[in-house]
Symmetry: D3
Subunit: 78 residues, 6 copies
């Protein structure tokens, strides 16, 4: 009876997309449900998946809003 919650920023990965597409969501749902079947033998029908899309303003990393943190990291020489 697993519950899987996937939190991601609300952004597109495909050109022109402003958020995760319905197809990508379906791939995440199937992928993680199969993983629980393979690793823990949980039947597909007993797994719930919830995808939460979070505005980039509402996501913090490194003490900064996500987009600003990415900008800073991109500029930092390594």
């Amino acid at each position: 009876m697993p519950i899987v919650t996937i939190q991601v920023t609300r952004e597109g990965t495909k050109p022109g997309a402003k958020s995760v597409t319905a197809e990508e969501k379906a791939q995440l749902i199937m992928g993680v449900s199969k993983l629980l079947l393979d690793v823990l033998n949980k039947p597909l029908e007993s797994t719930f998946v919830v995808i939460e899309e979070v505005d980039t303003d509402n996501w913090g990393w490194g003490g900064l809003p996500a987009l600003e943190y990415r900008r800073q990291r991109a500029q930092t020489p390594r």
Copy 2:
């Protein structure tokens, strides 16, 4: 000091409604707060309730997006 989180798909149950109505939400809030009073003796004023409505695309069951899973189950002879 309980916190109750209720996650449901963003769908209407009443004709014409596209989501849970404000009246239904109020019933959920009162119902679950009273339940915690009855069972665990928690005063109403110490219970927080958060209702999260999740788009049907973002909810997975049986390895599929929720609406597709329901369609398949409806077609399966039992």
Copy 3:
């Protein structure tokens, strides 16, 4: 397909009990599942309930650990 998460402090309400009893948990599970059936017409078998018991040290209210906050409130004249 609702998911209900109930977070409570790990404490007993019955004399001698140090945590929520199995019977109380069963009452919470049935009560909240029925509520979702009554209010939103969700079948019992499509509702998941997760009860999370949280140590009183790990719960804060009023800027203080829960037990300390209760002590202060009990002493405050109203």
Copy 4:
């Protein structure tokens, strides 16, 4: 590697604002990330923060939707 989730009602605190502003969100992100650095010595870059804004209809307190509960408390003589 802390994860901090901050759930607040979707309301403005500044005149004219209908929700938490981007600047307030940035202050929350920085403030809580620094707190984890100060108290638990967690580096800023290992802390994730997620802010969830919840419609006031979807938030319950005292057995009532949040705004109604506030109205009642405001009217109660103490």
Copy 5:
């Protein structure tokens, strides 16, 4: 910067195991992190995974504690 939370009952799937093993947990962590890389192009190092094991008493399905629900389903002719 995804966060994936996997909630499962605290049970073993291997003979003699009373909970998810460390190896199974590592497989879940790697599997879901790769899934997010494959589907959404998220680098492994930006994904956090949290596995929450929940006592079977604390998990409800079908209005009942999980183990009781399973017993009933096993007895129901289909």
Copy 6:
């Protein structure tokens, strides 16, 4: 009426401590409650804080269990 959830690995930061101490928890609770008062003008008594300690086996980063990921990062020249 904010709810703040702080998830950290169950580890000590002080010499000899195997987990977050009660004093550190109290500092987190007060610190984050004050932050919400300062930034969003939320009264202390309307903020709930829940601290969740997660076993290091149950926390994944970079596709690996947390301790293994840290070991690898410590060995990587930058």
